[in-house]
Symmetry: C2
Subunit: 187 residues, 2 copies
DNA sequence: CGTGCACTTGATTGAAGTCAAGCGCTGTGG
DNA sequence: CCACAGCGCTTGACTTCAATCAAGTGCACG
């Protein structure tokens, strides 16, 4: 829980009482490798935090498995469209390593945000951070070549490349496994 | 101001006192066609609302003029990266038609959000809406062909196609003017 | 010790970008 | 009032990046 607390504190500080109440709303699971966090057919109403381990959010688009996000230790993740809209994306989440994961339900988060201005602020900052990431990623997809996107990932998060299989990295980067393989071999 | 008030109310209602204070923080400009709203060299610290008219946010990327967003009557717009990060995007905004535009400064918005839980909530909902849009747009860029993106714009906002020049629409869709022209001619 | 999964390598295709030329308004100056 | 300059858009030829299809290779584990 301490990792989660300090990750939250980095985004926006909470007063001790609010923090206590807020932490109570989180549930925690300990999961082995290759284990589902959210079954594929369920709509995900949780924001997750991964204490330790690795997880992957994905969905099926035109019959293909697309990796939406890869999260390693001490990162938050969620399916944005599923969480905020309760709509189309039949999202799945599964672990890639033995992992400890916490999550807070949409309803709990919203009722806490309603009660506590501080939680509302925290949520706003989290969403803002997501929005900025989303913009950066869009820019990357729109203007960079596959090579540049790979280089960016390598610079920004070499851990992902070390710990996650190339199949998932490729779909996370929005390219095919073959293209990624060619990039890595240096053409 | 009424258009702005009701647009805000649709996102999240404010109590009368908060609303009054909040509205005071907005400034309004009446501008002719093809007039700058933000000079190109300035970092934009405003969220804008366009009461009536049309405007375009853009930036120069690799020597090319890229349309980030096209806003018509009763829409909010901002440069996400510029506003929230105060960083790289040397963004410009200019009118495409005679327009009435309001804006609120970052500092004013943040201090109001700090004072009023309701404003914080409103801001959170605005950012969330932006985030969802950003995801939809990313999905569109990543998985749809130029043709499909044009069709989507035509379905979602035919007004834009009627009122904005093809050069801007093309860069908004992330394609070249030539490709857009070929799409419109039906191959 | 093989069967399969993770990845590589090769050949071909396709969508959209680039470069280049041309068309048709519209508006301004001679 | 016409002429032509320039902008907004179209059309054509060619190139390029990455997808697709199709065999492999090699290692992991059962």
């Amino acid at each position: 829980m301490d990792l989660l607390k300090s990750a939250l504190a980095k985004i926006s500080p909470l007063s001790p009482e609010t923090e206590t109440a807020f932490m109570d709303a989180w549930k925690t699971w300990e999961l082995p490798k290759d284990h589902p966090v959210v079954r594929e057919s369920t709509i995900s109403d949780y924001i997750y935090f991964i204490h330790k381990g690795a997880a992957r959010t994905y969905y099926i688009k035109n019959g293909k498995d697309i990796t939406e996000w890869l999260a390693l230790d001490q990162q938050f993740f969620l399916s944005i469209t599923s969480f905020f809209q309760r709509s189309p994306s039949r999202l799945g989440v599964h672990t890639l390593e033995p992992s400890v994961i916490s999550g807070i339900h949409y309803n709990d988060l919203m009722s806490m945000a309603d009660k506590h201005h501080e939680v509302e602020r925290l949520l706003r900052k989290m969403v803002t951070g997501s929005l900025i990431l989303s913009q950066v990623r869009m820019d990357s997809i729109q203007f960079e070549t596959a090579q540049q996107r790979y280089d960016r990932l390598l610079a920004y998060s070499p851990e992902i490349i070390r710990r996650v299989s190339l199949t998932y990295i490729a779909s996370f980067l929005g390219i095919t496994l073959e293209t990624l393989s060619r990039i890595r071999s240096g053409k």
